[in-house]
Subunit: 107 residues, 2 copies
DNA sequence: ACCGTTCATCCGCATATCCGAATATAACAA
DNA sequence: TTGTTATATTCGGATATGCGGATGAACGGT
């Protein structure tokens, strides 16, 4: 795979990297991966004010990482890209390796 | 793989997600993946002021994503985690799918 | 010791991002 | 239409992040 052009770089950053650049949004992705939920369920599960949850959901939705389906008065959110969860899991595995190296270095 | 605890979430964010949350750092990772380089080579390859490059390298180095090896007066940087490049490549593939969906939706 | 090269860090400024109370909007029921 | 519940958006303020000139520190050559 070639080195990304500047335009692709910018799109990659805006649409994906930046979207998972916030811990609350990562948390939301995992919560929705566990099971689809409406906004209120997320508010309670993550113990976070509703506007905060809605704002993060809007960001994930605009980038196509979650889908929103209205069901009466509530809106059910789902993970749209299972690969995103896989990526996060790989990152977590990497993280363990990185932390081990850190702790084993005595300087 | 279980849902990450709050502490793991914070570490994941700080050590990895945030590190690749800047387009210049992604660009640096790809440039180093193409071939190891010293700071000056990066300055020229990315056409970016040296303090900016050094600052980004410090962030990547602190998180263990690149390694620095002094060679005389210059310092050669290398990608420490090839998996990080693989992850970015998967993100780029995802990106294409996401952009297609966007452009095919007529609202 | 002095100098030139290479890189790291400091610092002030500009911008981006996040937060959450307040408010607006959408859907449904009575 | 009025009220209630669920969600989205607005807004001001706080914090974080990026930038790059100026400066400091490390190294090798003379």
């Amino acid at each position: 795979m070639a080195v990304p052009s500047n335009e692709e770089l910018e799109l990659l950053h805006r649409n994906i990297c930046q979207a998972v650049g916030d811990p609350k949004r990562i948390q939301i992705l995992y919560a929705l991966h566990e099971q689809p939920r409406n906004v209120n369920a997320l508010v309670e599960a993550l113990n976070t004010p509703q506007p905060t949850i809605s704002r993060h959901l809007a960001i994930l939705r605009e980038r196509g990482l979650v889908t929103a389906e209205r069901d009466g008065t509530s809106v059910i959110y789902r993970v749209a890209e299972p690969r995103m969860i896989e990526i996060l899991d790989v990152m977590r595995q990497m993280l363990r390796g990185l932390l081990e190296k850190q702790s084993s270095v005595v300087e």
